[in-house]
Amino acid sequence: MPYLYNTSDDQAAMLAAIGAQSIEELFQSIPSELRLDRPLNIPPAMGELELEQHIRGLAAKNLNGSNAVTFLGGGSYDHFVPAAVDAVASRSEFYTSYTPYQAEVSQGNLQAMFEYQSLITRLTGLDVSNCSLYDGGSSAAEAVLMAADITRRKGRVVVAASVHPEYRQTISTYVANLGIEVVTVGAENGTVDIAELTSVVNDETSCVVLQHPNFFGCLEDAETVAQVAHDAGALMIGVFDPISLGLLKRPGDWGADIAVAEGQSLGTPMSYGGPVLGILACKEKLIRRLPGRVVGTTTDRRGNPCYTLTMQTREQHIRREKSTSNVCSNQALFALRATVYLSLVGPEGLKSVANLCLQKSRYLADKLDSTSRFELVFNSPTFKEFVVRDKENAVEDLVADAAKEGYLAGIPLGGWYPNLADCMLVCVTEKRTRAQLDALVEVLQTGAAKASADELIQAGI
């Protein structure tokens, strides 16, 4: 037992101090009829060496960044994570500490979170950020609950069909038992149908939820949508891609009252979708309904400036069922990663990342569109993702075949959008090279590539 200290001598000495005969006696408050009378039926213990062999084996069965090239996006992105981010996040004092209840011995965490909040408010053009939630999807749902509470409109939530399908599902799940109706507005042409949207937003509508760039990669007419929401007295909730803000107008500038995002792109690996980073920022006037932890400045007894968790009266350990949310933790370690990432790339770096995504995804989109087999589905401008149709309607097979060559080609859309059953969503980040883009086109057209993903990786291209 490499993590247990107590030797049998220790145990004997401790039991003597307690005045107990055995460890078993310490459990006597548990009635014997409730006790498990056998060992747990789980696999036997493994030493570290065996564990590592086992885990390496499992890892080797997954296509991943070391043996495959991915064009998958849809809310989880293969952006580059600088080594300095790992170096900071692997500091014991960050990752083995807990919520900074004791500010005196937690100024490192508190300051880092304050910097995170500051970065997010600057990035979004909004006034206030909490210090993170679970992920983009649950952040969207929390924003919807916020809006319902603030507007005191329990009737309707309006969501564009071009919002990430799993975010929409999450919103629906969260409000399912609250008597709130979720109205989905179509996006047949790749962006939300504004006429339809206008028709369904009414004075019972607490909020409109729009993703921009949306799930299809398309830019929405966000300002118009925000106007529709505001005209009806509803709040505008904007789902954004933090990387896109290297080029695009900030949510606060196009009219979002609450902006939420998946922050994984900012220095956190994909990790099969979790753990990741829920970003939520809002206007000042909404602050008292903000869910999650926040850090603020203050001074200590000696008058020195310092940081502390604040506005805890919103929280569940004080207000219990009256709290703004049940969230009592945050994704501090990934907020830290985002803080380090944004500090490293700076304004020019974020612009570069965004521009590379834009240019390279456009190159691939045009190249696929110029083939006889594929065509782009939507006309709207896109940022780093696009929807492509396989005229031979064999998207699932294409994806499976490409995977055999080490190319993760795209996300089939039929499961969420039956009318797009012959389409897939393709994503290009700054990590993709021209050789990889060309190889993907080749493998999708011919079922094989001159060079497998492994070969490109070995060639460093």
Binding site: P2, Y3, Q11, A13, M14, I18, A20, I23, F27, I30, P31, I42, A45, I55, R56, A59, N62, N64, A84, V88, E93, T96, S97, T99, P100, Q102, A103, V105, E115, D127, Y134, E166, T170, Y174, N177, L219, E223, D253, Y272, G274, P275, T299, R301, R302, P305, Q316, E321, S325, N326, C328, S329, A332, F334, S343, V345, G346, E348, V353, P381, T433
Partner: protein
């Protein structure tokens, strides 16, 4: 004390990262995107170099106490050692660099691990189905309550009442409210257990769920657990077990065996996931068979390979009557992987030894401190106990907070204070099994010293830390949550 923010280090023209030149023909951005969508200026980020970033955050890190550097007896949080082998596993590209929408056949190792996790959690809880999706304990609570709501709705029942003991975690009533239930508080008695009279008086046919923490937040196993569960079940209600305190009972007793229909786990507590300064955690839930169909999706199923009969194959399925999704993607896989490593490291005997030693350590520490720091509910305890400074407060003006802050001066993180609300001047101490007798002795000795110290000295504590006590009232009155 250097209090510079990363923004204060910014100087125009400094760069911490250089991105590659564009290797495809590049068009002008304005020809690709509408002008109305473009930002008018650069993002307002600091301009700093990599060495500046590193030194800034390395120095910040040293301002924190942490499990790796200090004893951290934060009650209810199970701040046990975070094994390094788990971190190594989670960093492997074969886990860290996997996309959630990869085809199943390209992630069989990931699914195998997750399936194994589902199975092990089911066995440890004695329940029949598992969803790994929730992202934290409180998220698991909410998920389970939505599952309960879906179950009742499915049978046309509109039960609204959720019973919650007054010493429960605040997230319990908060989750109940979020899920659309009415939370009703049940009193606990002087021993820390549910007041059965109050419980029976509040139990009626409107009960949906009784949320119970067992062992409870004062570190006591609910002696009337079976009676409570039977009574709730008799009314058609469900029992929810708040799994925060699972570290006390691994392999000793199982929630499913003592009446729970649903429970969440905190893998970052019980199964050693690092707490990360506040997160991430995870909050997988287990439920009885009849609730399985309502679980959020997807879950991992084990079957045969479509292309290769006889070979095990894992796939993702969404239960038939699923409540939907509680978040995007599968779940907090990285946290679950660490927990998986932890459980596989221990095996059945090891997990039992964890609880044995967690309970032994807590009782030992209890025996050392109870004479000078009263523990209202504790002759014996499970994995933690709650002491009270109310006598010290009344007699000498020394509060739980004073003691907590003074401990920092001696190189110990403070216990949880002022929780649960049912104990006045509560000091909630959870040593965990990964601390040595020597550390417990030193901690108890320090507590003894502190309670004998001058009250004014304690009011002013801590004295040797980076900052002294922050003015929290001022912080909350005029919240300053970002720098200009």
């Amino acid at each position: 004390r250097d209090t510079k923010l990363i923004f204060d280090l910014s100087r125009p023209g400094c760069r911490g990262a250089v991105l590659p030149e564009c290797d495809v023909p590049a068009a002008d951005v304005t020809s690709l995107l509408p002008a109305s969508a473009l930002a008018e200026s650069s993002p307002e980020l600091p301009e700093v170099t990599e060495p500046q970033v590193i030194r800034h955050f390395m120095n910040l890190s040293q301002l924190n106490m942490s499990v790796d550097t200090h004893f951290y007896p934060l009650g209810s949080c199970t701040m046990k050692y975070n094994p390094k082998r788990n971190e190594r596993a989670a960093a492997m590209p074969g886990f860290a660099e996997v996309h959630p929408y990869q085809p199943d056949e390209t992630k069989q190792g990931m699914l195998e691990m997750l399936f194994g996790m589902q199975e092990m959690l089911k066995e440890i809880s004695g329940l029949e189905a598992c969803s790994l999706q929730p992202a934290a304990g409180a998220h698991g609570e909410l998920t389970a309550l939505l599952v309960a709501a879906a179950y009742f709705n499915d049978f046309g029942e509109n039960r609204k009442k959720v019973l919650v003991p007054d010493n429960a975690h605040g997230t319990n009533p908060a989750s109940a409210a979020m899920a659309g239930f009415e939370s009703v508080t049940v009193k606990t008695n002087i021993d820390g257990g549910v007041d059965m009279e109050d419980f029976h008086s509040k139990l009626d046919d409107d009960i949906a769920v009784f949320m119970i923490t067992n062992p409870n937040t004062v570190g006591i196993f609910e002696s009337h657990m079976r009676e409570l569960a039977d009574a709730v079940h008799a009314r058609g209600g469900l029992i929810y077990l708040d799994g925060a305190n699972m570290n006390a009972i691994l392999g000793v007793t199982r929630p499913g065996d003592f009446g729970a229909d649903m429970q969440h786990y905190n893998p970052h507590k019980t199964f050693s996931g690092p707490h990360g300064g506040g997160g991430p955690g995870a909050g997988p839930i287990c439920v009885v068979e009849k609730l399985a169909t309502y679980l959020p999706g997807p879950v991992v199923e084990q079957g045969e390979c479509p292309d290769n009969a006889g070979q095990t194959y894992y796939s993702l399925e969404t239960p038939a009557k699923s409540i939907g999704k509680m978040r995007a993607f599968f779940g907090n896989t990285g946290v679950l992987l660490r927990a998986y490593c932890y459980i596989r490291t221990h095996g059945p005997d090891g997990l039992r030894a964890v609880s044995d030693n967690a309970v032994l350590n807590a009782n030992y520490l209890l025996s050392l401190v109870k004479d000078f720091l009263p523990v209202p509910q504790g002759g014996r305890c499970m994995h933690e106990f709650v002491a009270s400074a109310s006598k010290l407060k009344a007699e000498r003006g020394i509060s739980a907070m004073d003691i907590a802050k003074r401990l920092l001066d001696f190189g110990f993180h403070a216990p949880t204070v002022y929780f649960p609300l049912t104990v006045k001047e509560a000091i909630m101490i959870e040593p965990t099994e990964t601390e040595s007798k020597e550390t417990l002795d030193a901690f108890a000795e320090t507590l003894r010293t502190i309670v004998g110290e001058d009250a004014d000295l304690l009011h002013e504590a801590p004295h040797s830390t980076d900052i002294s006590r922050p003015n929290e009232v001022a912080a909350a009155r005029n919240p300053c949550l970002s720098c200009m």
